[in-house]
Amino acid sequence: MSGFVRGNFAFMGKVALLAIVTAILALLTEHAFVQKEYAIGSFLLFAILALNFTYLTKFSIPLKFFVPGILFFIAFVIAPIIFTLSMSTYHYQTGNILGKVEATEQVVTLGAEPDANGTTFDINVGETPSGDFAILVSDIANNKFFISTKDARTEVPASSVTLDENGVATAAPGFTLISAETLSKSDDYSRIHYKYQDKFYIGIEGQNVGAVFQQSLTYDKAAGVIKNVVTGDTYKDNGRGNWAKVGAPDEMLTPGWRAPIWFENYTKLVSDEKVRTPLIKVFIWTVVFAGMSVLTTFALGLLLAMALNRKIRGRRIYRSILILPYAMPSVMSILIWAGMFDTEFGAINNLLHTHIAWFTDANFARGAVLLVNLWLGFPYFYLICSGSLQAIPTELQEAAAIDGANPRQIFRKITLPLLLQILSPLLIASFAFNFNNFNLIYLLTGGGPRETLDGQIAGATDILISYTYQIAFGNNTQDFGLASAISVLIFVLVASISLYGLKKSKVMETFG
């Protein structure tokens, strides 16, 4: 057995495993660099080096145990926090997604305006005797033909060209056709502006289609401005991720880019009423929801744990049944509950012979959310309360009983305080979990109901994290910068509440 753990076999196994991991990471690294995701690529490269160095040397034995965890911690905890923090300082929303260089390139590309008549020609792509790309253009309506390159346009007499069955020129003196198969290997030829007349050029709009364009927008890199050569307008970087027209700053070119606006997203949380008012309402409901969820699930879990702490017939069966909701995937449970709450066809209204619009009335929706969360959460507290109750020495309760305390007094003065001392960290963790219980809200109510006709963005059951999602992804204008700022706020709140709770419960002293 020890040979498998320490011998050559184990060593070869380690080498093989390391080779596979390295290969997978190398694959991901390559993809990352191809996608120009340099930060991710660099991290993956670092991971390859760190893993190989750690496991192929005796530099540090403890590191062999910690390094995978450290790498995952960096990738999935530290990096998202840094990214979110960073994005919260950016003007990063629909219309301002790209980097500045790419956005500027696209602005210039979109600045190619078709001529007034929308002139298009049948073309064939080929090359000149000197090897330059050229197009053989057929102006069929006027029976004219010409060869265009980047720099020159040469007329070709109709008598000199070879025509196909559609009257499109396929061959001419000084022009060698390139096959579609060859052209498909690279589209360098398509980026060329082929000479037409005056300021107009022919751009390639398909394998055999050329259209006449004029480049109206040009980027003056030295001056840092975009100029419209047709209208004479100049567009300057407005410092917020857009090229804005000089003299009319509201006229902006699209697309824009992500631009740093530092603390503006944070100040918006306080100063912008459209953001502040729903945020306060959502915050209050989040605290109520998380608090009530912890309270109700703990209360029911404790009640059942106490009931089943006594020796009763069929206790094992009851215990098994009680943990069933915990064993079932929560997504499935939530969706089943959502169906049961349906106004028209739901089992709950059918059983109660009512017609309650559970998800369109704010109070009923909140009640439904708490009820479903109680169903999902009580088995957890039942389990931990059961264990904790058994950990409380029975002598204490017996002594209290001898001193004349009744069961209620024993529970209030002995059992509950001791339980709370044991369970405080778990209660705090449960509060923090429910503070961010996105799945429940998203799947059950979608954050609604919303008074959309009153312009409400936040729904009655939206908690901070679902509201953040709504801002980031739930709308036609997605504001990732603002959503990131709210995420940072949630992080600070949850961290503060957790730290405060942990300090109060003195749990941290155990680790001192």
Partner: protein, 420 residues
């Protein structure tokens, strides 16, 4: 690290790189056009291009199917860099958002190509005067009536309500009119519009009237007259949600329903007559508007990055927009083609033609710049369903809420016109 270990590291690194080099395919083959589509279109496109592999000489076509239309929309929203497709087939309501964010690339169609489509088709594909795709097929709903319950086509909205009230108990009707497909916002426009609420109006020349809004009071009073009882509660004719509509219609418990043009065949197979018509308005001869929009094949900026821009443009303009391409595709997809020549083709079924006729009679273009605008407080997609919930479920005043809706949509249009 001793030499032995270094050597071992070298061996591992070499092995890893060798494995990587052999295993890794090129990220995106230079001549491969990547198309994204949803769960119904994706498999159909795969079938189409398997049968027609040489549509674009020198290029291959790869289709990636997503699990749903929403999943496709999410993926389009979220991809970064050059990870996305060269072309995607989908809804025009994404145009504004994606074009604004620099994910779409413009397409130039020849005058001859444009003439093969209704001019209004291009509203749906345009952002700031640039066209970003080609129309593929008509995307609309139309109403059918169950001939086992109703013998003649209704002339007015009132006819339908009267029928419902007269037969509600005797025939056990669950509702009078409901929407089987397209949801309460997109599919449900005709329900709003028939009573007077339109998100925008079109002028005779086929351009939107950006100054006109609907009359919230008239609309609200129509809602009171046709959909509410004397006590202000829903009379049951029109449910606030589409849940159960399809099942109830199939079971003969709803006389009038709108069907999506992607789903008509399953109803036809069940024996329903495809007597498509728009939802009649409150006055005979008028109809509730419905989105007679088009689904588009859109070009993304990735095509340029992947080096397939020319091939992708050829695929769009030379195949997806062509009569031959649309006839071949719609023989599998079964929606009405957008190309006028393809529509006239004998190979297009009668039901497809009826659907297209209904769209011609009462269709309005789906203008994403207006519908997606939140300037008034909420966009069309959220506020339209919100009205029904407020009035039919929460019992709020139909006129007060109607006025709010009218003001909201008017502002959405006023601001959204900048994105046309």
């Amino acid at each position: 690290m001793n030499r032995k270990r270094l050597g071992l590291f070298g061996v591992i690194a070499s092995a890893a790189l060798a494995i990587t080099a052999t295993v890794v395919p090129a990220a995106h083959a230079a001549s491969e056009i990547l198309i994204w589509a949803d769960e119904t279109r994706g498999p159909h496109l795969t079938t189409l291009f398997a049968a027609n592999p040489n549509v674009i000489p020198g290029s291959t076509i790869k289709v990636v199917s997503f699990s749903s239309y929403d999943a496709l929309g999410d993926a389009l929203d979220k991809y970064t860099g050059s990870a996305g497709p060269d072309i995607f087939i989908g809804g025009n309501d994404w145009v504004t958002k994606l074009a604004k964010s620099g994910k779409l690339a413009p397409v130039t169609l020849t005058a001859s190509q444009k003439s093969k489509f209704a001019a209004t088709n291009f509203f749906d594909l345009t952002y700031k005067k640039k066209i970003y795709g080609v129309p593929v097929d008509i995307n609309n709903v139309a109403m059918v009536y169950n001939t086992k319950l109703v013998t003649t086509a209704p002339k007015t909205y009132g006819d339908m309500v009267d029928f419902y009230k007269a037969n509600k108990v005797s025939k056990g009707l669950k509702a009078g009119l409901c929407f089987t497909g397209g949801g309460m916002a997109w599919g449900g426009l005709s329900g709003l519009s028939a009573l007077g609420a339109d998100p925008y109006f079109m002028r005779a020349k086929g351009v939107p009237d950006v100054y006109k809004g609907f009359n919230g009071t008239t609309f609200g009073n129509n809602v009171k007259k046709y959909l509410l009882d004397a006590n202000g509660k829903s009379n049951g004719f029109f449910p606030a949600t589409d849940t159960g509509c399809a099942d109830n219609f199939k079971a003969g418990l709803v006389p009038y329903a709108t069907l999506g043009n992607w789903e008509w065949k399953k109803y036809a197979d069940l024996g329903f007559t495809m007597n498509f018509m728009p939802v009649p308005g409150v006055v005979a001869g008028t109809y509730g508007h419905m989105f007679g929009s088009v689904n588009g094949a859109f070009l993304t900026t990735n095509a340029e990055k992947h080096g397939v821009a020319v091939a992708a443009k050829s695929l769009l303009t030379g195949y997806f927009a062509s009569a031959a391409g649309q006839i071949a595709y719609e023989a599998i997809e079964l929606r009405p083609p957008a190309n006028l020549d393809a529509q006239a083709s004998a190979s297009v079924s009668e039901a497809q033609k009826n659907m297209a006729n209904a769209a011609t009679l009462a269709g309005i273009p789906q203008i994403g710049a207006f519908l997606g605008s939140n300037a008034g407080g909420a966009n069309y997609w959220d506020s339209s369903g919100g009205y029904w919930t407020a009035v039919l479920v929460q019992g709020k005043d139909a006129v007060v809420e109607g006025k709010k809706l009218a003001a909201m949509w008017k502002k959405n249009v006023a601001v959204g016109k900048a994105d046309l």
